[in-house]
């Protein structure tokens, strides 16, 4: 089990020009470790659809890695996305499933206890699947392993689906933005500019 904020710090430290997509609770903590034009932290996005949005981005921008920070509750709201990822997921897509076994954003209600996300991903066909047959499913349960495996995840062809058991012991910050169109525009402008540090039109 990993502290979620430590996972975010490790990812932010290793990340260079990758797009990082998240919705719901992750949007409250990711800005504590990153402020990057290629961050897409949008709390009120369609529920459960972070990885679908990330897949669209990855298909449109094959030259860039797209990292999705997805909650396990969100995945249950769009389970079919695993099947779609197994069918079309491109090599540049990385989905990190933050497994805290609750619907954290709406009060911490527990998820169905018996669900196994690695088994679901394998059953969907992600291992050995994706657009080019390089799909990989794995579970990373401690921070040291995550830190050591990150270079590989960022380098090797995917799509990757990584189940990561996490907890959070920190107080969550308040929602820091409500300009939804601005969040979209910031990312699309940065992509159009082509540079990770590009200024935006906001």
């Amino acid at each position: 089990m990993m502290e979620r904020l430590d996972v975010f710090r490790a990812l932010a430290d290793s990340r260079t020009d990758e797009i990082v997509v998240m919705t719901m609770t992750a949007t409250l903590q990711w800005p504590l470790v990153s402020d990057h034009p290629l961050d897409f932290d949008f709390l009120a996005f369609g529920m459960g659809h972070a990885s679908d949005f990330g897949m669209g981005l990855a298909l449109a921008r094959p030259e860039r890695k797209v990292i999705v920070l997805k909650g396990d509750g969100g995945l249950l709201m769009s389970l079919g996305s695993l099947v779609t990822m197994a069918q079309y997921g491109p090599e540049n897509l990385i989905v990190l499933l933050l497994e805290n076994r609750t619907y954290e954003m709406v009060g911490g209600q527990p998820l169905p206890a018996r669900v196994d996300f690695v088994t679901l991903a394998n059953g969907a066909g992600i291992q050995g699947g994706g657009a080019t047959g390089n799909g990989k499913v794995e579970r990373i349960a401690d921070l040291e392993t995550f830190q050591s495996e990150l270079p590989r995840l960022l380098d090797e062809p995917g799509p990757h689906f990584v189940v990561m058991p996490v907890l959070n012991t920190h107080e969550l910050p308040a929602v820091h933005h409500s300009d939804h169109a601005g969040r979209i525009r910031r990312l699309s402008d940065a992509l159009a500019a082509g540079e990770p540090g590009a200024t935006t039109k906001e």
Binding site: G48, H49, G80, T84, A181, L187
Partner: protein, 178 residues
């Protein structure tokens, strides 16, 4: 809501899938994301076969909407092909990935129940009467594609979506023809 009898009198046979795809390609769409139904089957087959279109079939419409939003932000130009029933299922995705963030999603929406309603028979379910009121409630502009004479409404949708940076739709009432 449109008077089905009026539309039926004008165009009772459905548009050509081939001509519709030609128009979609002419307008520069790069991806067709479809949840096929019996009315759109020929259109989907034509999209899948076209060398200049990438064709994806996700599992549900909400997924498709989010994928389309990502494609658009990444610089591609997606078109969604869904049925009215799927539109109803996908309301939160449309709100969160399209209307709220002002992503100009474009949708061809199959109007299940229209054919029965236009012929004076009861629709088999409630999908027909709710379709236009739902689009109206979400302030999504739409026009009808009922025959080859109407294929220009796709360009109209494209122009309006891009000008306003908001979702726009075309409703198709009849089964696509070859």
């Amino acid at each position: 809501m449109a008077d089905p009898a009026v539309i039926a009198d004008r165009a009772p046979i459905g548009a050509s899938a081939r001509l519709t795809i030609d128009e979609i390609v002419r307008l520069g769409f790069t991806h067709v994301i479809a949840i096929p139904d019996s009315e759109s089957r020929l259109l989907c087959e034509a999209a899948a076969a076209h060398e200049r279109l990438s064709y994806l079939t996700p599992c549900r419409e909400g997924e498709g909407i989010a994928i389309a939003a990502g494609l658009w932000v990444g610089g591609a130009k997606p078109l969604l092909v869904i049925q009215n029933t799927g539109l109803m299922e996908a309301g939160d995705a449309l709100r969160g990935c399209g209307i709220g963030p002002r992503v100009p999603l474009q949708m061809l929406i199959g109007w299940r129940g229209y054919a029965g309603a236009s012929q004076g028979t009861q629709p088999v379910d409630s999908a027909y009467p709710y379709t236009e009121p739902i689009l109206d409630a979400w302030q999504i502009p739409y026009e009808h594609l009922m025959s080859n004479d109407d294929i220009g409404v796709i360009a109209s949708m494209d122009e309006r979506a891009n000008r306003t940076s908001k979702p726009a739709a075309v409703i198709t009432g009849w089964k696509f023809q070859p």
